[in-house]
């Protein structure tokens, strides 16, 4: 499998849709026959995957927003998983 590069620009898979559900007070990713509950971190990352930002830029935005650092490996791992699940395309 190709390794994900930090200058690539992930986008939500066109089969998928992000949704905040008021009934459950939770975030989800909706796919043709699947609904997946997202934790806060997953939702924060996926919300930034809009096809215009590179992974490096996404990491930078997350670091600023949550006042954290050294998250690069975690974000890269998540993006790679999300790609394998078909949630995003790169």
């Amino acid at each position: 499998m190709q390794t994900t590069k930090s200058n690539s620009k992930p986008n939500i898979n066109k089969l998928a849709k992000l949704k905040y559900d008021e009934t459950r007070n939770l975030n989800f990713i909706l796919l043709p026959e699947k609904i997946v509950k997202l934790n806060g971190t997953a939702n924060a990352i996926l919300s930034l995957c809009d096809g215009t930002k590179t992974i490096s830029e996404i990491i930078e935005l997350l670091e600023k927003k949550f006042s954290v650092d050294a998250i690069e490996k975690d974000v890269m791992d998540f993006i790679s998983d999300a790609k394998n699940h078909g949630w995003i395309t790169i």
Binding site: M1, K14, L15, K17, K19, D21, T23, R24, F28, L30, P32, E33, I35, K83, N84, G86
Partner: protein, 373 residues
């Protein structure tokens, strides 16, 4: 079977809201497929819910926590208000999926659906070529489906092709998969026939033999590996050939509900056959009340209703005793263990059905098509 673990969890710690709604807009359909899982007695056009009923249902569904709506039928394109309903799901940020035979989908109609905000189309096919498609659907529709697939492909809409598998097409699974890919599908669902409604009436024609299933499954696995992440290929298990039943609908009244063209609210699309249960109608009761309070939704929640061998089984919260509709259709009681289960005293009925598949001849002579007025 994979995926079953010996864990005991109790889903009755409270009833969770539903995730998905299957909206059967009409039972009318240009095709008359041998494997149709709709009931033998279809809802007549004049009994169908109106546009305002459906718009109200979508609002209620959204309040209830529904995040995904599948518009189905029959053929949902026959309803001229389809775009209006899809528009409503978009306004409420509900994921909309159109489950269609494709027949009636013109360029103009497709543009309207896109403008309305459709999220995904699932197109059915029956075979990889015209002659067998005609046998299976009792209609000349293969060429039309090919053109329609090409329209959908050009539109770049998210696109699944679904094929129901059975004795008449399993041997061609490789050609079928290749055709779905060349037609531009992003996902392929290879769904082995579920024997409900009209499909059960045609079981002697449709039920494959074990060798057919094994060969087809091996090809599916090879293709899945070959295409990797490029395309999602899904195999829906032929439950008759398993040792344990499927956790039907993810459990009765746990994840999703179905509304029939006449407004009956069901925990499973096949449930209307269970004549021992009186199902509610959305014309008379709210969706919220039906989901949380009605006896038809509560009757098979939890494990209090179970008898042996389910009652003491470690898998009872994994498969929920299997499919209630199949238990009713084959054993005569909806609270029996699904007869597919190897511990069910009725399992020999399933084994007998399978054993007849090795010796039958001239199966096409047994085909039954729907008699429509």
């Amino acid at each position: 079977m994979d995926g079953l673990q010996s864990k005991e969890k109790n889903p009755l710690s409270g009833i969770a809201p539903p995730y998905a709604l299957l909206a059967e807009l009409t039972h009318s359909c240009p095709l008359h497929c041998l494997y149709c899982s709709n009931p033998i007695n279809l809802v007549k056009k004049e009994k169908e819910l109106s546009t305002s009923h459906w718009l109200n249902i979508i609002e209620q569904a959204s309040d209830l926590g529904i995040m995904q709506m599948h518009f189905s039928g029959g053929e949902p394109l026959i309803r001229t208000d389809l775009e209006q309903l899809i528009n409503k799901t978009r306004d409420l940020n509900i994921y909309s999926n159109l489950i269609t035979s494709g027949i009636g989908l013109t360029q103009n109609r497709l543009s309207n659906l896109i403008t309305s905000g459709i999220n995904h189309i699932q197109l059915s096919i029956q075979s990889h070529e015209a002659v067998s498609t005609k046998v299976i659907t009792n209609s000349e529709c293969f060429q039309a489906k090919q053109s329609i697939a090409s329209l959908i492909k050009e539109s770049q809409l998210p696109f699944t092709i679904n094929i129901v598998l059975h004795a008449l097409n399993l041997d061609n699974i490789e050609e079928i998969i290749e055709m779905c890919i060349s037609w531009g599908a992003h996902r392929i669902e290879l769904a082995n026939t579920q024997y409900y409604g009209f499909a059960l009436a045609n079981q002697s024609v449709l039920l494959p033999n074990k060798l057919q299933i094994e060969k087809a499954f091996a090809i599916y696995q090879r293709k899945k590996q070959e295409y990797g992440n490029k395309i999602e290929i899904i195999w829906v298990i032929p439950d008759y050939f398993e040792e344990y039943p499927k956790p039907c609908m993810g459990g009765w009244g746990l994840i999703q509900l179905t509304i029939t063209p006449a407004g009956q609210v069901l925990p499973c699309p096949a449930a209307s056959i269970i004549s021992s249960i009186s199902f509610e109608n959305v014309r008379e009761k709210s969706l919220d009340w039906i989901w949380y309070e009605s006896s038809s939704f509560n009757i098979f929640r939890g494990d209090m209703w179970m008898k042996e061998p389910c009652k003491s089984c470690i898998y009872r919260f994994d498969d929920y005793g299997g499919c209630r509709c199949q238990a009713f259709a084959i054993t005569g009681s909806a609270s029996n263990t699904d007869p597919v289960c190897k511990y069910s005293p009725y399992r020999p009925l399933i084994d007998n059905a399978i054993s007849t598949t090795n010796s039958r001849e001239n199966i096409l002579a047994n085909i039954k098509y729907r008699n429509l007025d």
